[in-house]
């Protein structure tokens, strides 16, 4: 993976230009949206529920068509959804290397499961996993493909607070190692500040706020700059702290 870093960072950026998306001729959910993500950059996408975050991500993932505007992105992308979406009838390690059919799959699955801390459950059936374990497996499935661009759609929203903290730490560690571009959809301002290089806020179909987060890693809530950025982002989301 070490040799990959340079290759990825010099790779294709994600560029969204004038992207407009409507459902059934209704008002645009995305309205001439522009966004660029540099190779290896970690961007957090914030926004209210229904603001179109998932729509943007699904378009980037190729699940929704581009009807107006243009999208450029690397070929190798992975998506982690809020639900783990593991196939219940395949053991964990087979889920991780799903769709890959060469000889090295077993080894690769074991290596990546080790990375996400799930080695001990590699032969388990998915339906017997806890929420956190299942999400780790989903993360492993995304990483094993060595994506240049990783999309995470509120991946920890359904987890309990303690598990969520652990998973955020895991994502921070994995990103440090893999250095792929990341788009993390979240409605949790703290999560954005803990993980991302940049936070953008989606509102009325466009990126209205674009804030760099120049904090040193590992990040701490107690950092005064952290506090300042949090107030700024919460304000941008229309949540006013006194």
């Amino acid at each position: 993976m070490t040799g990959r870093r340079a290759e990825v960072e010099s790779g294709t950026a994600v560029i969204v230009e004038q992207l407009t998306r409507r459902f059934n001729g209704g008002p645009p959910v995305l309205d001439a949206l522009d966004l660029a993500i540099a190779p290896g950059e970690f961007v957090a996408l914030l926004g209210h529920s229904g603001s179109g975050k998932s729509t943007l991500l699904r378009t980037l993932a190729g699940l929704d068509p581009v009807t107006e505007g243009a999208v450029t992105r690397p070929r190798d992308v992975s998506v982690v959804f809020q639900e783990h979406r593991l196939l219940p009838w395949k053991r964990v390690w087979k889920n991780v290397v799903l769709g890959q059919e060469d000889k090295g799959i077993r080894q690769r699955a074991e290596a990546v499961l080790e990375e996400v801390g799930l080695s001990h459950r590699k032969s388990a059936w998915p339906l017997t996993l806890s929420g956190g374990e299942a999400q780790r497996a989903a993360l492993a499935r995304a990483l094993v493909r060595e994506p240049a661009f990783l999309m995470l759609d509120e991946p920890f929203a359904a987890l309990d607070a303690l598990t969520r903290l652990k998973m955020q730490q895991l994502v921070a560690d994995l990103w440090k190692k893999h250095r792929c571009a990341v788009l993390l959809v979240t409605h949790d301002v703290d999560e954005a500040l803990l993980l991302a290089d940049r936070a953008v806020v989606l509102e009325r179909g466009q990126i209205r706020v674009d804030v760099p987060i120049p904090l040193p890693r590992p990040r701490r809530h107690s950092d005064p700059e952290f506090e300042r950025l949090r107030t700024l982002l919460l304000d941008a989301l229309g949540v006013h702290t006194s």
Binding site: L87, W89, K90, G99, P126
Partner: protein
């Protein structure tokens, strides 16, 4: 009175396991006590003349007759014929049902073409087709096997079709982000995902097969368990009729067990493997 509940457990080792074993035997005995009692009462009623053997043979008589029929080869022969018919019919039903369900489950066009006629046909009681089948196929093996096949195709088709159609679209979305081909999706998502419903369909199909066979063999046949029973009716041999019934019962039970076994091995991934209900 206390509102505290204390739940305790012990590891089963050594002595306790042995104790539990005898306990299990007791439970086993209790389960079978009442059927045994009923059979005893039945025997008593026959022996004392309370129940005419022209209406109902006694259990002892049934056992003797059963043994005789086994010894002179009547039962094994007829059983073999019936089994072959049921298996052939069921085999055809599975093939046809699976193919049709795949066609209509995996493509919209296929659904438009296949589903509507099958839904209409399904409402016909298959047994009402007996006269037509005899007219078309004569009195050989064909009408019997086809009648079984016809009846058993529907449960296979309907359940498998439903299974394919109710696959979680989120899983399909996931495999599409992984760049799955159509064939990979069918192999890794549709088929395993619809397997539980297929097995439910199979269970019904097996039940229907026996039903269709009973009727087909009693209406017109020179062999088979149903024929053996109809023959016995002419001679008022209730013992032979009851032996036939018993055989049907055992066949039904056995085939149900086989499907259950399939379910528990093929669906090992389900943590709460549904303990199958009887058909």
């Amino acid at each position: 009175m206390s509102d505290t509940i204390i739940l305790t457990g012990t590891n089963k080792t050594g002595d306790t396991r042995r104790k539990n074993f005898t306990l299990e035997k007791l439970v086993f005995a209790r389960r079978y006590a009442s059927p045994i009692l009923l059979v005893s009462l039945w025997q008593l009623a026959c022996s004392s003349g309370l129940l005419s053997t022209r209406l109902l043979a006694s259990p002892a008589q049934i056992a003797v007759t059963g043994w005789t029929l086994v010894r002179d080869g009547t039962l094994p022969y007829n059983l073999g014929v019936s089994l072959l018919r049921a298996a052939s019919g069921l085999g055809i039903a599975i093939s046809v049902g699976v193919v049709l369900a795949l066609i209509s489950g995996l493509s919209r066009l296929g659904e438009d073409i296949v589903d509507a006629p099958l839904q209409i046909l399904r409402t016909l009681p298959a047994l009402a087709l007996v006269p037509l089948f005899i007219l078309w196929f004569g009195i050989g093996e064909a009408p019997k096997i086809l009648l079984v096949a016809l009846g058993a195709t529907f449960p296979i088709y309907l359940n498998l079709h439903k299974g394919i159609r109710t696959i979680d679209p989120k899983l399909l979305e996931m495999t599409s982000t992984l760049g799955f081909s159509r064939w990979q999706t069918i192999r890794d998502v549709f088929l395993p995902g619809a397997l539980p419903d297929f097995l439910t369909g199979l269970r019904y199909a097996v039940g229907v097969s026996w039903l269709m066979l009973v009727v087909a063999e009693q209406v017109n046949a020179e062999s088979g368990i149903g024929h053996m029973m109809m023959d016995a009716e002419d001679f008022l041999r209730t013992d032979i009729i009851l032996v036939g019934l018993l055989v049907y019962g055992v066949l039904g039970l056995l085939s149900d067990q086989i499907v259950r076994f399939l379910e528990s091995t093929l669906l090992a991934w389900r943590p709460d493997r549904r303990k199958g209900q009887t058909v």
